[in-house]
Symmetry: C2
């Protein structure tokens, strides 16, 4: 492996490894040669024109390559992916190589103009867009078919020749980030801009949302505490609390859109154009013509997919929902049994036993959620969606429906069938707290502990006693490639979504839920930060302009919570006492209030602009400029044409 630099046309003295490519151990020599040649080959020849260097490891039987790129190459790549950067006049504009001088902090020798995360994103994009020309197969693997335009990296991945591609950590930067994020004990905001520079927009936006959501819950928590402390049971106070909660939850979701717009404008992703979506790696079908691109690519009949969805997935999901309800009924049996036991032999032990069924049920719910998650992923992948976005939407829908029912069915049952507010309060508290503890443990602490152990083992094997930061490159790569992979923000948002359900669905019965949510979220920020920095491989940055479908999910939850809270208040004995003669009047009043609240919610959502005024002006300015430029161009053309 002495020919490490031989692929390069020019000698690049400051080769900076950005991305690691790990090929299978037994990968054939001719395949590796062909692949690396394609990666370093000139753009004009259909290559990616990147720099590649093999990593010489101890035993040498691993095929690990480091990928980098020249500064110029990265700048051109930034134009290709449509990166938006800040200009000298503080406006945000799409970066182009020809207008590079107008951008803030640009200098031909400033290699930090693009952040490391951006550079890695560009390299990932270029690698994924390395497409087959006239190759019919991957050299050395006749069973791995190719066709013109097929992404080579995706085929290598699905054929198992490519094990993984991941971006390298920057030990120095990470240390700085860790310090300002959770290293010192301080109260304050997270360094979101630094998180974005290091991990990209999707992850920064998640932490931004987590932080915002925590702050937004504080008023609810503060108002909720006296209800618990003084055991306020007056109906007017409850109505006030619930009304405040419902309107507040609308306000916070609307305001989040504005804050999100401010952040993503600053980060440039609000202005980024959507890229054309290629088929997802796992998509398969018979070769046909794509009606949109006119290219030859696998085509899978939409009817077949519909059949799979409606004849297999939907019944399966219904079965799972039924099973979840069945488990719920078992829980109620257990609950009854514990109650009987407590009544028969009253003791401290037996009163403790009262909580056991709830705790067991909470654990079972968590386990069922996790098992179902795998099933949902398998099914959605089997449905063979062409686009990643469509895959994600179907997966999210499946998971949300099940998790919602699984987590809240027992509470709905207690509230609206058993009418047992005391049990509801107790169940809610147990479910919320148990699931929070379980989540914190399973998500961050357990992996962190495993990771620590493994690192120790690895260090021992390497016979080195150096500290974290002066690991050699080889050690660093070996360490990082063994780390777990972070599969995106899905689970984190899901957790917040369910928490929002616990807080808002029955808020008028258990005002303390918001307090627990706030406490949990504060530790959640730290444990998630730990997870990102210490436990998982660095993920590739993903530019994004909003939290996507989660906004809709949270809004739906807040609509459902209007309905549940109105019914709960209507059922409370205090309110019932106000209408001693006529249940009709009570019901009518409740229905009226509910419809009014819903109407106010929708009007508020409609009236509050999604973007703050200054962002609107900035966007309008950009649009005006591009229209103006187009008009100028046409005017020139017109003047020329008319002169002839």
């Amino acid at each position: 492996m002495a020919e490490s630099w031989s692929f390069l046309d020019t000698f690049e003295p400051d080769f900076r490894p950005l991305v690691v490519i790990e090929l299978a151990k037994g990968a054939k020599e001719e395949t590796i040669e062909w692949f690396t040649k394609r990666v370093v080959d000139k753009k004009a020849n259909g290559g990616a024109q990147l720099l590649v260097k093999p990593l010489v490891t101890e035993n040498g039987d691993e095929n690990i390559y480091l990928v980098g790129a020249s500064h110029l190459r990265l700048l051109l790549g930034a134009e290709t992916v449509g990166l938006v950067k800040e200009c000298n006049d503080n406006s945000m504009r799409t970066f182009t190589y020809s207008s590079r001088k107008t951008f803030k902090d640009f200098a031909d020798d400033n290699h930090n103009f693009l952040t490391m995360a951006e550079s890695q994103y560009i390299i990932k994009h270029e690698l994924e867009n390395l497409r087959a020309k006239d190759e019919k197969i991957i050299p050395g693997y006749p069973q791995a078919k190719l066709y013109p335009g097929k992404s080579i990296v995706r085929r290598l991945l699905t054929s198992g020749i490519l094990v993984q591609i991941f971006p390298l950590h920057d030990r120095e930067e990470l240390k700085k980030l860790r310090h300002s994020w959770y290293g010192r004990v301080k109260v304050g905001y997270q360094p979101l801009d630094e998180i974005r520079c290091y991990f990209g927009e999707t992850i920064a936006l998640y932490f931004g949302f987590l932080e915002y959501f925590t702050f937004a819950l504080i008023p609810m928590a503060v108002i909720g505490i006296p209800y618990y402390v003084f055991a306020w049971e007056d109906y007017d106070k409850y109505v006030m609390f619930a009304t405040f909660n419902l309107l507040w939850s609308t306000v916070i979701l609307e305001v989040w859109k504005r804050i999100c717009a401010i952040m993503t404008y600053r980060w440039g992703t609000l202005l980024m154009k959507r890229q054309f979506e290629e088929p997802r790696p796992g998509f398969h079908g018979v070769l046909g013509i794509n009606p949109i691109t006119g290219r030859e690519e696998p085509v899978y009949s939409s009817i077949k997919r519909q059949i799979r969805i409606y004849l297999v997935s939907v019944p399966f999901v219904c079965l799972c929902l039924y099973f979840s309800l069945y488990v719920m009924m078992i829980y109620f049996d257990l609950e009854q049994w514990a109650l009987d036991y407590h009544e028969e032999n009253e003791s401290n032990f037996s009163s403790l036993m009262l909580f056991v069924p709830s705790i067991i049920y909470a654990v079972v719910i968590e386990i069922m959620n996790r098992i179902y998650r795998y099933a949902a992923e398998f099914l959605t992948s089997w449905e063979n969606h062409r686009l990643e976005s469509s895959y994600q939407n179907h997966l999210i829908l499946k998971v949300l429906v099940f998790n919602f029912l699984n987590c809240f069915a027992s509470l709905f049952y207690i509230a609206f069938v058993l009418f047992d507010m005391k049990l509801l309060r107790q169940s809610l508290a147990t479910l919320l707290i148990t699931s929070q503890i379980l989540n914190q443990f399973a998500e961050s602490l357990l992996p962190y502990w495993l990771q620590k152990r493994q690192k120790k083992r690895l260090k021992k094997r390497m016979c080195s006693l150096k500290t974290d930061t002066d690991l050699s490159l080889v050690e660093q790569v070996n360490l990082e490639r063994e780390m777990g992979t972070y599969f995106g923000t899905f689970d984190d948002y899901l957790e917040l979504f369910l928490q929002f359900g616990y807080v808002s669905l029955f808020s008028c019965v258990y005002p303390l839920a918001a307090v627990f949510a706030v406490l949990n979220n504060i530790t959640e920020i730290y444990s998630d930060a730990l997870k990102m920095c210490r436990v998982y491989k660095r993920p590739f940055a993903e530019p994004t302009a909003n939290i996507g479908v989660w906004q809709l999910a949270f809004e739906t939850m807040s609509v459902i919570s209007v309905v549940t809270n109105c019914i709960l208040i209507g059922m409370s004995p205090q309110v019932n006492a106000l209408f001693p003669d006529s249940k009709m009047d009570l019901m009518l009043t409740v229905a009226l209030v509910e419809h009014l609240l819903l109407a106010i919610k929708f009007i508020m959502a409609f009236v509050i602009p999604d973007k703050p005024r200054d962002i609107q002006i900035k966007l309008a300015k950009l649009e005006f400029e591009s229209l103006e430029a187009l008009k100028q161009q046409q005017m020139k053309l017109a003047a020329e044409s008319l002169k002839e």
Copy 2:
């Protein structure tokens, strides 16, 4: 006035008058000269480069000018306004002069490549975009201030120097259109494509919607007839009818979006880019800097506008609403009086008298609606909105709220306060039928009759006895400039909106409403067609891709109608008889059904795609092509940069 052609650089033998400009009778010579010079001046000098010819009239004291343009000029204008036309490969693309050969039916000598309506739209656009350069005032009118970039035509209009600009009819085309539209007695679709060619997309879309809506009402009408004929009063039949109605109204509104997309794709407006919106003509303020364009233009503080809206407009609207409710109470007094009278002296006359209050009330409602309409226009214009779209939204909101309350308050009162279903049915029928008759009369027949009389007078004055079609150009212009101006589709949509309310809000009480609506709409199509072709000046074509805010208005109405119908069914004695013991159970069931229906509505609206699959594919194809072109360009640039 012999120098008629002197402004033209080139002699244009086939000058075709497209647009008429009428200047005030006493307009100063220097102003006219300056203005016409600007209109014909070269683009490079800031002119519009159009052709102008004065119309030599009998008495000669009128300043009327005919505007046309060379074929080349129109083609370049088509590019400027971003017209989308069909290509040779049947795809729709934005027209550019350089790619003109790829468009269907394009030939250098085919002057019908652009329809007359398109040509007129282009000329209007060019005239409106004729902007002041360094003029500070309009020559001859020192009080009419100008500033760089101000639209000259708009200043001339607001100063009263320019009386009107309108497009000329094409007698031949109009005759053909009339014949295929309503000339022969036949059952079938309207010639929407021809209407669009002649009147533009906005008007064609209105007629498309009217036709679609009429067809969509037919199933409701057909199902409703037996309920009336056999006087079905079983609760299950009512529930079925109402459920069908509610789901049907969701389906038709969703399907309309798809049909609208199909039509506007064919017409090219679905793909048209939104133009940058200039301030509306009436907007005034102190000269300042527009933060978006950076240009000097009038600026009006947003806070002042908010004050006007919230401190004047909102209280005024509330006062009007109160007044409307007051009138309603008087109506009920009248109603009571008529009932008493009928009971005292029972006779044919007295039973006829029972209908009189309703009819009077219906007439009063119509009158109030029309008066309020003027007030709303005045107020909204006084609020001084910068953009036409913002003006329109505020106007529509004001008018909708008032009309909704004015038309339906009495029905709500009868249904939910008096609980008198018989009176509700009678009131609904009277209101619906009276308002339909009044509308047809006031909107089309009256103006048509006035127009006919005026035309006769004019013809007498002209001492000519020729038929319509061989009027000379002078006669035609004189005739058309006296015609009324069509102020857009607002009133037509409003009428449909209120009709939709009558049909859907209380559909389960009066299933026959749909029958009347269908009958009315069939005549409405003919009377509106008559109105467009015979009564009003030809309006300028307005490209549009959808029915805009009306879609939202209709959807809101269909949500409200779910609530009203559920309550009505819940109140019916038949349903009450099913729950003899417990009003609670009845209310719960009604509330549950209502929420279920609402949920189904929202899910349906979410699930049904807004655009049919083939349109989606065509749009995706276009997007892909433009991204591909951009990528190619970048690749080329990148290859060049990397070669250096």
